[in-house]
Subunit: 231 residues, 2 copies
């Protein structure tokens, strides 16, 4: 990477989870000046936002912004709609924890901020291997968003687009954890659980907990996750 | 249009302006069951939201939702950033009233709601003729959003996408007004001005006021716009 590239700004989506914490570390390692963006979208587990703040604090970024999203007004997901229960075992097809158009909304805000910052890079920690069946985590979706973004923006009209980086997209959960540990990510600061309690302790039963635990086991490293009593 | 199609649901973006009021009338005329979506994005002129409510009331829809968007946290536009003045004459290139990624955000929320409603149609009143130079009003942008949406959603994965209808895209302002009047749109309920006062009266000087006044003049019909005293 040359000096000019090393100085480039990148908007990095940081959720407080394991994946985005790793994506942030990879963006920083590649020399980007990182502008972290998190969303308060009425998540059931507010501790996710505390985790996002802890991740950003522990790694260091140029700026961290929190955007309030009105996803409860849309509904349709177990993660934002109290009428839909979070399942405790993987089901068939696309799960009820899928939030309609979530990554499209997240990337759209990232695109807006990138345009204001004149940043030409966005990092998102999506993963197509252990992806739980979400359509908006696939490489072909990301490529289509990038193509759309090139036409949506002033930057695109002026000849340069925004690149969407997905450094985790083809990694297994174990590989993500190994990469992150090599870059010094403190996974104790992250939360993956769909049903974490107020103290950020995981349920140990939801899809996301199972994927995370299996990832640490496969990576052969100790899992720093704090679990709720009795799990 | 066949009976099945006539029963279809459409999410229609309604801003309170002349264009979206006309797009809503055209969607209703085509037999769609319309779900109106408006955004409170920190517009300087709050009267725009009152106009959106008036438009929806006068035409009738299945449901009207208002989503609060945190665009001030992003900044970068004269319409959402108090530090940037609204210009009173058209300039060169993309104007400062351009809101970064605005239509991408609007369409992303529409996509999310469409997915929850199982609606396969979205109407947006963008216009590429008198479009003020916004990149996200061009047909190629809309086509790219539609392609992205097909990959982003459960509906797309299950084999059917969401169609983005832009019935005004190739119409002049005068043609839009003529179409709307033929469908009984009450343009007195709409507001186009970037700097309307609290009573919804237009400044008569901004780009948007000029386009609207020229449109009524070219259509050869009386302009029902209420102007601020002294304009």
């Amino acid at each position: 990477m040359n000096e000019g590239e090393a100085q480039q700004r990148a908007v990095v989506l940081v959720s407080g989870g394991l994946d985005s914490a790793t994506a942030l570390a990879m963006a920083r390692d590649a020399g980007y000046h990182c502008y972290a963006l998190s969303f308060d979208y009425g998540q059931r587990h507010r501790s996710e936002l505390q985790a996002a703040a802890a991740v950003v604090r522990s790694q260091g970024v140029a700026e961290h912004r929190l955007i309030k999203l009105d996803l409860r007004a849309i509904g349709g997901s177990a993660l934002t709609d109290d009428a839909i229960a979070v399942p405790q075992a993987p089901g068939e097809g696309i799960p009820v924890t899928y939030v309609p158009a979530r990554n499209t909304l997240f990337l759209s805000y990232a695109l807006a901020w990138a345009e204001v910052l004149d940043a030409r890079h966005i990092f998102i920690g999506v993963n197509a291997v252990d992806y739980s069946g979400y359509p908006d985590c696939r490489p072909e979706y990301i490529a289509a968003f990038e193509a759309m973004a090139r036409l949506a923006t002033k930057a695109g009209v002026e000849g340069h687009g925004v690149r969407i980086h997905t450094p985790l997209i083809h990694l297994s959960k174990a590989q993500i954890i190994q990469q992150g540990l090599a870059l010094g990510v403190d996974y104790a600061a992250t939360i993956s659980c769909y049903a974490a309690d107020e103290e950020g302790r995981a349920c140990g039963r939801c899809d996301s907990c199972r994927l995370r635990a299996a990832g640490f086991a496969a990576a052969g490293v100790a899992d720093p996750t704090r679990y709720q009593p009795g799990t």
